[in-house]
Amino acid sequence: MMKDGRLKRIIIAGGGTAGWMTAAGLSRLIRPLGLDIILVESKQIGTVGVGEATLPHMRFFNQSLGLDERELMAFTHATFKLGIEFRDWGRIGDAYIHPFGDYGEDHDGIAFHHIWQHLHAQGRARRIDDWSVPVVMSERGRFAFPAADTDDLLSTYSYAYQLDAGRYAQFLRRFSEARGVSRIEGRIVDVGRTGETGDIAHLKLESGALLEGDLFIDCTGFRALLIGEQMGAQFLDWSNVLPCDRAFAVACESVEPSVAYTRATARTAGWQWRIPLQHRIGNGHVFCSHFMSDDEAAGILMGSLEGAPRGEPRLLKFKAGQRDRQWIRNCVAVGLSSGFLEPLESTSIYLIQAAITALVDGFPTGAVDARDVEEFNRVMDLEYERVRDFLVLHYHATEREDSEFWNHVRTMPIPDSLAYKMELFRERGVVATYKDGLFLHPSWIAVYLGQRMMPRRIDPRVAGLGEDVLARFAGMKGDISSCVDAQQSHDQVIAGYCPSPERSLSG
């Protein structure tokens, strides 16, 4: 297949969000080298449709493709997303928002959350949330685009989308096909390997057609047809720290007004998501089958919908974990075939994006180089492990004792890497710093403080801050409040910027 030692054809096995994101990324970035990109998918096989809620990184992916944001948001019925609200996680009745932005600002090397804790102890500050522009905006139903000027309060945050992942895949399919990606309808029934190297040589379709290629991207979802079944990548099971293994999902009618945040409400044996799009609300109940039956889980979900359901709830079964290698020989796993982490922090699309970025970075122009494979696997391992730690934190840092499930996750052994981070924050309020890894300081602070992990000791320099400095910080809350009140409502921005046709018809 390879001509003159150069890679000529890429086969993407599977469509869905992962498949079409990969196709779009490669068609924009790699295809100019004269490569053929073929995506094979079957209408008979449903897609999971990961990630209705996303992270700000997705915007950079879309920008690198040159997508028009308004067009994309209208097509996918998207709303803006400034963070995730967590209800009932620390204790029943608690609520906090994990914002896509900073809290306050540091002063002379002193982290803001230490200053806040000092003010809090003096009775001059209640919630740290009041020092976060995106939190206050979320709570008041407002939205504004971030400012470029770093002196502006509106420069302190970013935003993501809440969108219809199925339509996002459609949008990217249109984009990809316009850039020469060939789509083949067909079901993969066999995989051919070359005897000498063990590389994948071709995919055999139900029609009998053989699809030859040089590089194969496995986007076959949980089945992991290529990376798992063929190449033998082992699944590293993380259900010991992330025990939820099922989810029911159902959409319901919208309620007004829409909000610019996703909600994750803790339930007796898991949690429930709520993702408001322009034309509907996505809902789901993630739970642990060891502690709750399917019927009970479905009942909890259907009993708590805010609008009329749009169909019956769909059951998904999964296991948390990742493949021990995500690139083997000429096969690369992207999306659910590489691993699965529950969508508590909307990381599914991010992990697809991270894999595409790493793949492009090490994209073989000829024979696969083992050094590229090693680096890809190293980077993806880091990504998965650091997301895992952050997800486990939500469960483990709880005070809930009202169910077997919460007793289990509160007391379970956790990875050493997370135990280290938690102890460092609990004892001294320091967030462990890493260069690579998705979640930055404010994200960790949001969950730590939102789930009542107040540091036992704070930076002793805070005690020496003058009253003028403390008063300035105390006053920043009012500045943020005034700034947010001057913004348009989230609905107004959506209506003016990116109304979806369906919304216009219904509204």
Binding site: L29, I30, P32, L33, S64, D108, G109, A111, V360, D361, G362, F363, T365, D369, R371, D372, E375, E423, L424, E427, R428, V430, A432, T433, Y434, K435, D436, R457, I458, D459, P460, R461, A463, G464
Partner: protein, 477 residues
């Protein structure tokens, strides 16, 4: 006859070094309510090991916390703004390259500039890599301005270091520390009494003792408080150092040069009033003493500066590491040292990471030089081995947590030392080579034009000092 009462304070800094007085000044600013004392150590080596220290950008944050300004450093410490280092001779007599902060070229289509540079080189249309660096171009022309605040301006695309007279900085730190209430003990530290992993008290000259909450070992290579326990030696050539200095106010202040030959290397750089030359020559039979403390924060004692880590002088590591150590110490400052187990653990983790990165930056040069001379390569850490392997395979730069050198410095050094990528990013391959050459040569022209408009550093500093004099008056220090 009864023993005299122990001298008391909250924090005792042992040593008379730059690290000692910087540490004392830092604590006096961070915790003005505490009693900080400094005591010399009886066996301390020369308190000023480096005639010149080079402050990296990271120091600017710390500087603000210490109440120091750039104008202080320029005015009182003979400081100059260092924009680039010209390296010559590491991989052969003719091999020259520049290490500078800030961007080289500009990324395009998601690929970093050095990938396009390889294409230009292959097409025979590549001037030196430094041509595409504003900092390097400014340095070669002896120019200086501060970077523009507007990130879109070309003049924002660089950063700088500050070369400082180490003795004068020590004096300034000492002056400011004493003014802030730090006490200077005249009696020397003679010994240390450890018990259960903590210092119980220090033995001072004249049968005195000192008993405090927290100790800083700033005694340099004597490591007077921490001792040799836990010292991890590293494989590095031992050096003899010879220092020369010429009084002059002329010449290029923005550029340092490092010239290597098989058995020595020489660094020359300009302070405001003199040029300093240091030659480091290999000792065939010398004893390598380089290394680091595996546990720089132990119990109630933290080793700073050379007491914690001593590395060969390339990249001027001592002050970079001192800056990192003080920054970490500030962020992890214990309210009560007795309960600082978690802080110490995190400090040690991050300090050791920094030591490793700095060592790697130097080992890279040794490896390149050895390769050229057909000598066996020094042992490389896994991190450095991976960095070299990934870069030479396809120009991918692996950066780790808490690096000290910037990515642009690593790339300039890797390329300059002959670690050429076998192939480039496919993102860069999509563009036509003619267009790449055309675009970047125009970019280089813009740099040249921008540099022409800038003042030379002598003039820039004169203006700066005139403003400083107006603000502070003649008796500022």
């Amino acid at each position: 006859m009864s023993m005299p009462e122990p001298l008391r304070a909250n924090i005792l800094v042992a040593g008379d070094s730059l690290a000692a007085w910087m540490g004392a000044l830092a604590f006096s600013r961070w915790r003005p309510e505490l009693a900080v004392a400094v005591a010399p150590y009886h066996g301390e080596d020369s308190p000023i090991a480096d005639p010149v220290v080079i402050a990296r950008p990271e120091f600017r944050k710390l500087m603000a916390q210490l109440g120091l300004t750039e104008a202080d450093l320029v005015s009182e410490c003979d400081g100059t703004f260092l924009l680039a280092t010209r390296h010559a001779g590491w991989t052969g007599e003719a091999a020259v390259f520049h290490q500078a902060l800030g961007t080289f070229g500009a990324p395009a289509n998601g690929a970093a500039f050095h990938h396009y540079y390889q294409q230009m080189r292959a097409a025979g249309q590549a001037p030196s890599y430094g041509t595409f660096s504003l900092a390097t171009s400014m340095a070669l022309a002896g120019k200086f301005i501060h970077p523009a605040a507007n990130p879109r301006a070309l003049e924002s695309a660089f950063d700088y270091r500050i070369a400082i007279d180490a003795a004068k900085l020590r004096d300034l730190a000492k002056h400011r520390a004493l003014a802030a209430g730090v006490t200077q003990f005249s009696t020397k530290v003679m010994g240390t009494a450890w018990s259960d992993g903590r210092i119980r008290h220090l033995l001072l000259d004249g049968e005195q003792s000192a008993e405090v909450d927290f100790y800083l070992d700033c005694t340099g290579t004597a490591r007077g408080l921490t001792g040799a326990a836990g010292w991890t030696g590293i494989q590095a050539l031992p050096y003899r150092r010879e220092t020369g200095s010429v009084e002059t106010g002329d010449g290029n202040l923005s550029l340092a040069t490092v010239t290597a030959s098989p058995d020595r290397w020489t660094r020359e750089l300009a302070l405001r009033t003199r040029r300093v030359t240091e030659t480091f020559s290999c000792l065939e039979d010398g004893l390598a003493h380089f290394g680091y403390l595996a546990v720089p924060w132990r119990g109630n004692c933290v080793a700073l500066g050379r007491a914690a880590c001593d590395l060969p002088a390339l990249h001027a590591p001592a002050f970079s590491l001192l800056t990192r150590e003080l920054g970490l110490l500030g962020a992890l400052l214990p309210a009560d040292p007795a309960t600082a187990r978690v802080e110490a653990r995190e400090y040690n983790r991050r300090a050791l990471t920094a030591f490793g990165h700095m060592r790697d930056a130097q080992a890279l040069f040794e490896a390149a030089s050895a390769r050229t001379q057909g000598k066996p390569s020094p042992d490389l850490s896994d991190n450095l081995a991976r960095k070299i392997e990934q870069f030479t395979s396809r120009g991918r730069l692996v950066m780790y947590d808490d690096e000290i050198l910037s990515d642009s410095e690593w790339i300039a050094c890797l390329l300059g030392l002959g670690f050429t990528p076998e192939c480039v990013s496919p993102l860069a391959m999509a563009a036509s080579v003619d267009a790449v050459c055309d675009n970047y040569l125009r970019f280089a022209k813009r740099i040249r034009q921008a540099v022409e408009r800038m003042p030379d550093q002598q003039t820039y500093i004169q203006h700066m000092l005139a403003e400083y004099a107006k603000e502070t008056g003649p008796d500022a220090v």
